[in-house]
C-alpha cells in the first residue's frame, strides 16, 4: 500500500503533457474565417498575394533559426529552412513576389497580426491569445 501511495504521488508530480499545435492565425477582425492547407501553402509560398476571397494578404514569418519556423515549413511543404530560403530567392529576384516580413519573436509577430486585418502568420498553440483567429490548425507534433 505504501508503495502504491509513493507511485501515485510520483505520477501526480509528472508534468502534464499538453499536445503542442501549430496554428495559422489572422486578426480577429479579418474577413477570413478558415483556410485549407493548400490555401496556406499558396500564401506562404508566394503563389498568390491575396486571400481566396480577394483581400490583399500581408504574410508574416518568424526570424531565421527559430524552432517553430523549422517545424512550420516541415509540416507545410516538407522543406528545410535553407530550401525555403533558396525558393524565396528564386521568387524575389525573378520579380515574382516578395517574401514574408520577418518578426523577431512570436510576441512581435502576434503584435503585427493584431495591427492589421490583412495579416496572417503562424504561432504555437501555447502563444494563442485574444485578438487572434485560428484559420488553420496543424495536427499535434
Amino acid at each position: 500500500m505504501k508503495c502504491l501511495m509513493v507511485l501515485l504521488t510520483l505520477i501526480s508530480l509528472l508534468p502534464t503533457v499538453v499536445a503542442e499545435e501549430l496554428l495559422v492565425v489572422v486578426s480577429e477582425s479579418s474577413r477570413v474565417e478558415s483556410l485549407t492547407k493548400g490555401e496556406v501553402v499558396d500564401l506562404f509560398m508566394g503563389r498568390y498575394v491575396t486571400f481566396p476571397n480577394g483581400d490583399k494578404a500581408k504574410v508574416f514569418d518568424l526570424a531565421s533559426k527559430s524552432r517553430t519556423k523549422g517545424q512550420f515549413y516541415k509540416l507545410l511543404v516538407n522543406r528545410t529552412e535553407a530550401q525555403v530560403n533558396a525558393y524565396w530567392a528564386r521568387l524575389l529576384f525573378s520579380g515574382r513576389s516578395v517574401p514574408p516580413e520577418e518578426a523577431d519573436s512570436p510576441e512581435a509577430l502576434i503584435t503585427q497580426i493584431k495591427q492589421t486585418d490583412l495579416a496572417i502568420g503562424y504561432i504555437s498553440s501555447q502563444d494563442l491569445t485574444e485578438g487572434l483567429k485560428v484559420v488553420y490548425r496543424f495536427e499535434a507534433f
Binding site: Y48, V49, G95
Partner: protein, 437 residues
C-alpha cells in the same frame, strides 16, 4: 551610345513615366481602403564571388556570352557578380521592381546592366500584367540565372543556358494567369517585346536586336514535381557584326562575276530572319532528392545561328546542409556544317586585287557560316554547402569535350579555327549570398 540603345532608353523611360503617372492618378481612390499601406519599398540584393580554374590554354571560358571571357588560368570575372533590387509596393493593385546586375559584361552601356524594370498590375487574384523590362522566361533558370544562391550548381548549365543569353531580357509587356488545378498550380504567361544583346563571339563583339519576340510559358507545379513548357518566336531586327560587312560586300558584286554571291549573302544576312526556341523542363524536388532535366530545340532561318538542340540531367542528394550533385549535359547542331561552292572566276579578265577580294569574301563567308556551331558535352560533379542562412558555398568540377568544329561557347586566344577536339577541366569555387534590408 548607338542609336538602338538610345531608342531603348527613351522607350523604357516613356513606359516608366506613363506607368507611374497612371499609378499616381489612381492613388487617391486607393487611399479609401483602410488598413492597406499605400507605399512600401524593399531593398534587397544577391551576389556571387567565384573563382574558376581552366585547365585548357586553347579555349577561354565564359559563363555566358554577355560576359567577357576569362583571361587567365584562374579567373574571378567569369562567375562573380553583384545584383541590387528595389521592390515597390504601390497603391491599388500595382507594384514595381527594378534590378541592376553588375558583372564583367561585354557591353559598356549602363542600360545593359538593368535586368528588370517593370510595373505590374494585378487586376485580380489570378491575373498579372507587366510593362517594362522583364527576364525572358525561356528556361527553368532564365528568370534567376544570376542568383547563384537560388540554384544548385556553380552556374546555369552552360550547354543549355549560354546561347540563350542572347534573348535574356525583353522590353515589352506580358500577361500571366495563375490558377489552382487539381492539387497543383498552373501558370500560363504570354510575353511580347523586343530584346537587345551585346555578346562575345571569339575576339569580336556581336550586337543583336530581336523584334516581335513572343514567349509563351506554361508551368505546372504540384510538389514535389514541376513541369514546364516554353515556346518562343523572334525576328532578327538588326545585327552589328562582321558578317553584315560580308553581306554588303557580296551584294556589291556584279552577279555575272559570282552568281552564288546573292544566295550566300541571303544566308548570312540577319534582319527579318526568324528564330524559334522550344523547351521542356521537369523537376523533382523532395526533401532528399532533387532531380532536374531540360531539353530545348532552337530553329533558325539565319545561317549564322544554325539550328541546335541541347539538354541536361542533374541529380542531387541532400545530406543535412550539404547537397551532392552530378550533371550530364550536351549541345549539338541539327544540321551538318554548310559548305559554299568556291567561285569560278574568269581570272584572266580580272585584276589580281579583285580576284583576291572575291576569294576573301568567299573564305570569310565560309568561315562565318560555321563559326557559331556548338558541339560539346560535359559531365559535372559538385557539392553545395548551405553553411549559414542566406549564404552558400559550392565546389564544382566540369569535364567538357568540345568537338573540333563546335566551340561557340568558348573564346579562342586568336580568331583562327580550332584544329582539334579539346578536353577541358574546369574547377569552380563559388560563394553566393542574398540579403535584404
Amino acid at each position: 551610345m548607338n542609336i538602338k540603345s538610345y531608342i531603348a532608353k527613351v522607350w523604357l523611360a516613356r513606359g516608366w513615366i506613363l506607368s507611374l503617372s497612371l499609378t499616381l492618378s489612381l492613388a487617391p481612390i486607393d487611399s479609401l481602403h483602410a488598413g492597406e499601406s499605400e507605399f512600401d519599398l524593399t531593398f534587397s540584393g544577391f551576389g556571387t564571388l567565384g573563382v574558376v580554374h581552366n585547365s585548357n590554354d586553347a579555349l577561354k571560358f565564359h559563363s555566358e556570352l554577355t560576359v567577357k571571357p576569362a583571361n587567365n588560368t584562374y579567373s574571378f570575372n567569369a562567375d562573380s557578380l553583384l545584383g541590387l533590387q528595389l521592390n515597390a509596393r504601390l497603391p491599388k493593385r500595382f507594384d514595381a521592381v527594378a534590378q541592376v546586375v553588375i558583372k564583367d559584361r561585354i557591353s559598356s552601356e549602363a542600360i545593359d546592366s538593368l535586368e528588370l524594370l517593370f510595373l505590374r498590375y494585378r487586376p485580380s487574384r489570378h491575373w498579372a500584367l507587366r510593362v517594362g523590362r522583364t527576364s525572358s522566361d525561356l528556361y527553368m533558370l532564365s528568370e534567376y540565372r544570376n542568383v547563384g544562391y537560388a540554384y544548385l550548381w556553380a552556374r546555369p548549365v552552360t550547354e543549355f543556358y549560354e546561347l540563350s543569353t542572347s534573348i535574356a531580357k525583353i522590353d515589352g509587356v506580358d500577361v500571366s494567369y495563375v490558377a489552382n488545378f487539381g492539387d497543383g498550380v498552373w501558370e500560363n504567361k504570354l510575353a511580347y517585346g523586343q530584346s537587345h544583346s551585346v555578346l562575345s563571339a571569339n575576339a569580336n563583339q556581336f550586337e543583336i536586336d530581336l523584334n516581335n519576340v513572343v514567349v509563351f510559358t506554361s508551368i505546372f507545379t504540384q510538389a514535389p514535381w514541376l513541369f514546364r513548357l516554353a515556346i518562343t518566336d523572334a525576328e532578327v531586327d538588326e545585327v552589328d557584326f562582321v558578317t553584315q560587312d560580308l553581306v554588303e560586300g557580296l551584294r556589291a558584286l556584279p552577279s555575272q562575276l559570282w552568281p552564288d554571291a546573292a544566295s550566300i549573302s541571303n544566308v548570312l544576312d540577319g534582319p527579318k530572319k526568324g528564330i524559334q526556341y522550344y523547351a521542356l523542363g521537369l523537376q523533382y524536388d523532395s526533401d532528399r532528392w532533387v532531380v532536374q532535366s531540360e531539353f530545348s530545340l532552337t530553329e533558325s532561318d539565319w545561317g549564322i545561328v544554325p539550328p541546335y538542340y541541347s539538354g541536361y540531367l542533374s541529380v542531387g542528394y541532400r545530406f543535412d546542409n550539404l547537397t551532392f550533385y552530378s550533371v550530364a549535359s550536351y549541345l549539338n547542331n541539327l544540321d551538318d556544317p554548310i559548305s559554299f561552292k568556291p567561285p569560278q572566276l574568269p581570272v584572266q579578265l580580272l585584276s589580281p586585287e579583285v580576284v583576291s577580294q572575291i576569294n576573301g569574301l568567299y573564305q570569310g563567308s565560309q568561315f562565318a557560316v560555321n563559326a557559331v556551331r556548338g558541339e560539346q558535352r560535359s559531365y559535372s560533379l559538385g557539392v553545395r554547402w548551405d553553411l549559414y542562412p542566406n549564404t552558400s558555398l559550392k565546389f564544382q568540377w566540369d569535364h567538357t569535350k568540345v568537338d573540333m568544329a563546335g566551340n561557340v561557347l568558348w573564346t579562342k586566344p586568336n580568331s583562327m579555327p580550332q584544329l582539334q577536339d579539346e578536353k577541358i577541366n574546369l574547377f569552380s569555387l563559388n560563394f553566393s549570398f542574398i540579403f535584404s534590408l
